[in-house]
Point group: C2
Chain length 196, copies 2
């Protein structure tokens, strides 16, 4: 099977997941969303779990490439990171955050899902921790514990996800709260002007 | 139907939800967890949605009674609140946080669930906001925006819930992060000695 087909199957998985939810997701419904037959999907992915694992892996890859600019000012890196997280969560279909929350609720029963979510969390925390550490070293930020600041931001992002799904609150509201906390922890406000 | 039966049905709903998950929850399975017949359950609750709404309402009531000590030192109130939240999330069955997350993922499709979660969030934020405001007025805490501190704490609690389900992280880890943030915002650490 070509990588084009694999990419198509993974995209179709995302659409089918949003439309039908985890419980009602079947290989046939994924096939219906693509030009690939359900037999061909089965050929490549033995189980629904493997397919969803590939879907989460792809999500992680795309998030990482979105952030693949390491060399710049750590203040820009933190602002870009928040842009990436909060654009991602508002630009997709409304159903995407719901589908993702369903997969999170399945993590205790599927080791592969849990591994992917742990990996995603590590990426999030590493990006923030590194930017905070670099910013402190460069004298842009007040002294703080980079690991704890990263944990705070990661947990608030998790909270923003729940609040958007369960309460219908816009995720941008949580971004404001994160920014206020960063101001307090780092003496610097995300998005504030950085001299070129 | 007696209120004892109603209470029994609601308890059985919690057990059946933890055991079977939202998608596979049926009136019959709830009946199997209690001494009440599925016909009797139907007599009292027309739909699964109404029954789960009553279950969430009961959860909210129990959380509110656990916190029903308004008159004391605001520092004790904040510490007790964190105890209540984090005991609740660790003392129940392991499956309970998962079941609750499934219901949160259903909130976009069930107005009643959303209303209950919004109500629970309002209780959480009001308790924290009031304690922070009282503590600032009494001179125990540094000056801060009580509403924003409450929002920070509520969002972190939401994040702790996701992290325990999706990542398998113990919720106590997030409590430490909340306490560090409160120290920074309020100049006071939860659980630190309060002179009687």
């Amino acid at each position: 099977m070509s990588s084009e087909s694999t990419a198509e199957i993974i995209e179709a998985t995302g659409r089918a997941l949003c439309e039908h939810g985890y419980a009602d997701l079947t290989m046939q419904r994924i096939a219906d969303e693509s030009s690939v037959t359900s037999a061909a999907i089965h050929y490549h992915f033995d189980t629904k779990e493997e397919l969803l694992n590939a879907f989460l892996d792809d999500l992680l890859d795309r998030f990482e490439s979105r952030l693949a600019c390491e060399a710049r000012d750590p203040r820009d890196r933190l602002t870009d990171f928040l842009d990436a997280v909060f654009e991602e969560s508002s630009s997709d279909h409304d159903d995407f955050p719901v589908a993702l929350m369903e997969l999170k609720a399945q993590a205790p029963y599927h080791d592969l899902f849990r591994e992917r979510f742990v990996e995603l969390d590590e990426v999030v925390r590493t990006v923030v921790e590194t930017a905070v550490r670099d910013g402190i070293e460069a004298g842009y930020f007040d002294d703080a514990d980079p690991e704890e600041v990263a944990r705070l931001v990661a947990t608030m992002i998790n909270g923003a996800h729940v609040r958007s799904v369960a309460l219908g609150e816009r995720t941008g509201r949580t971004r404001e709260t994160i920014e206020q906390s960063l101001t307090l922890h780092l003496g610097w406000t995300p998005g504030s002007e950085v001299a070129a």
